[in-house]
Symmetry: C2
Subunit: 367 residues, 2 copies
């Protein structure tokens, strides 16, 4: 299948767009969506762009019962020159396929998915918001649609891409958060699904997040499922620490999601010749480093916030203030550089950004 | 809300029923379904029985992305006298609410849910199959329906009950299965969602099951997520061993599902004055017991199969044959007794069965 085989059915009536200067995350969706079906024996078929619309889906569809589903999250940015840029989108399609593998969902054609994504953005290009800090959030996802209550891989799936214009993550400048170290709940375990981007991981995390929020913390820091001692992630972000001039992040062990932002940061730090290593990091080490005054910075990394500095860690009744609760220099530099690359205002030495071409009107078939 | 407030809209056209003597599990659904909505601020509302129909649901619905969903599974049986019996249905509603608690889903009114279930069965009573060994499988479930991509509990849900006539689990008599001890993948971890009946647990289990099946095993035996040493469950069943005259089953530790069949078996064994205990059981212990010739029986327990004898365990390149690969005496007795109670042919000393009354036609409002 190629890009040319994507059928396009344009909406008869465009929606009223929300005000781009007061967008909430993930609440508004654009005029169109991409859909492709999978049927066992036939493979993926009927890639199409259609008006954004509700799904009509049997209540026995396996996704509702056994959660066989994967997703991705990435963003498109409008540059000052009016270009639309994607940030390392191939990485997301690769990860989607790794998630598929873990969840027994058939592999997708990554090239086709990327073409579909670009075509969809072309069609809904006027939804890429033009206000500073905003972007178009992209959500590719796959759900199991066979109406069957047996516990087995589904014989039918739908792959979809929906788009949502989102506001600036930091409305008043990049801002550190308070994080509670989670001592009871676990996000993922070795041998589980932690390194896949699949629904169940998030469902399981809600409880801890709810309790942390009730105590005034914005998120939890997840420890490993085995010894409850090694640091894994923060909320739904990867995590970095700067200790005595060196940057460390938990090594990918099978229960940590392989973040695209995480990978980009490791590349940037190496490029800058700042020492960075991936290793097993215990919460005790962090506590010790803090006690000795060596914990200089801590931050979460992910597509939504890019960099989320951690101003305070709460662990065992103690509040560890990090960098006086202020954004660290390196955190800020990473944030500025990454968002700069994403927006095309900072040089992109790695060739990370991918341009979405202007729509060629001859390609649009209104079927 | 009371039973009287359940609106009933009957189907205009009844489906053709499948042949009750060749039913497959979970593939056929009855003429009607129960639905109730939840809206934050308003609570659960609009309980109704409607024709079985596809859901119309936004692609951004949270269930697709973050897996906030729970379910139950139980059965209705047709007795020789033409009565319809449920087996300990309150237990399922209680467990549904425990799952809700873990998944940050609002509690349901268990009484109302049970009334709704009974009303639905009354309406679709002619779908309770009348062939030996068959039953009506009941699937209550809740899905998060708010169209929102933020990781947070949904503000909207739907609670549904669907019904599926299912065939005899054992077509040629109760039959032992071969089980592979899972050495890499993990179903659940302490602090995770293993003791909730939620979709993600099943999605995560497909991979191990697929690999085991490819090797000729029908299911895997799950070890604990921490030490990978203690026995938890088998497939999606609880597990029991009879060792040297004593019955043991893994103690509920937070990562094991609290099976209704498991609980019933413990009650029955105590009633029979057969020694039974719930404890931490390592796979090494089982191996040792087998080596010493003391491992007399092993069986899985769950609503679908009731008792599933294990004829062989595969662990570390060794095949441990149990009771010569044949169904043990106790397994058989438990199976006969439990299915007898469920069908009303064996005395029910615990008051476990609940009768679904004949429909009072005056109650049906065809709105
Ligand atoms: C659990 C989890 N960890 C980490 C990340 C960060 O990954 P990325 O940098 O690719 O956005 C995400 C999501 O974005 C996530 O869901
Ligand atoms: C994971 C799991 N364990 C055990 C059981 C057995 O529970 P019950 O006896 O209530 O059917 C089930 C399901 O039925 C299950 O899904």
């Amino acid at each position: 299948m190629t890009e040319q085989q994507i059928e396009i059915q344009l909406t008869a009536e465009k929606k009223q767009k929300p005000a781009f200067d007061s967008l909430e995350f993930g609440k508004n969706f654009t005029d169109h969506m991409f859909i492709m079906d999978y049927t066992k024996g036939q493979g993926w078929h009927d890639p199409r762009i259609v008006p954004y619309q509700p799904l009509t889906i049997d209540p026995a569809s396996m996704v509702f019962h056994y959660g066989q589903t994967v997703f991705e999250g990435l963003k498109a940015y409008l540059t000052k020159e009016g270009e639309v840029l994607l940030f390392r989108p191939q990485k997301n399609m690769e990860r989607l396929n790794r998630s598929n593998e873990r969840l027994c969902i058939p592999q997708i054609d990554e090239e086709l998915a990327l073409s579909a994504l670009k075509r969809l953005i072309q069609v809904d290009r006027d939804w890429v918001p033009n206000v500073e800090g905003t972007s178009l959030y992209i959500r590719p996802f796959i759900i199991a649609t066979e109406p069957y209550l047996g516990v087995a891989p589904s014989k039918r799936y739908q792959f979809m891409i929906i788009l949502s214009p989102v506001g600036a993550y930091y409305k008043e400048g990049i801002n550190p958060v308070k994080i509670a170290v989670e001592s009871e709940y676990v996000r993922a375990a070795i041998g589980g699904t932690g390194d896949a981007k699949t629904a169940g991981n998030y469902a399981g995390s809600l409880k801890a997040q709810e309790l942390a929020e009730a105590d005034g913390y914005s998120q939890v820091l997840w420890l490993d499922g085995k010894e409850h001692r090694y640091i894994e992630e923060v909320g739904s972000m990867n995590i970095f620490f700067k200790i005595n001039g060196e940057v460390v992040t938990p090594v990918l062990n099978g229960s940590i999601l392989q973040g695209v932002t995480r990978d980009s940061i490791i590349h940037l730090l190496k490029h800058w010749e700042i020492p960075v290593s991936e290793k097993k990091i215990s919460i005790d080490e962090i506590y010790e480093a803090h006690k000795q005054g060596l914990l200089e910075e801590a931050f979460g990394t992910g597509t939504a916030a890019v960099i989320s500095p951690i101003g305070e860690l709460f662990w065992k009744d103690e509040k560890l203030s990090i960098n006086g609760g202020k954004t660290g220099e390196l955190s800020k530099k990473l944030y500025d550089t990454l968002t700069g690359i994403q927006l095309g205002t900072v040089e992109d030495p790695f060739g990370w950004t991918v341009k979405v071409k202007e729509e060629n009107p001859h390609l649009v078939k209104n079927s």
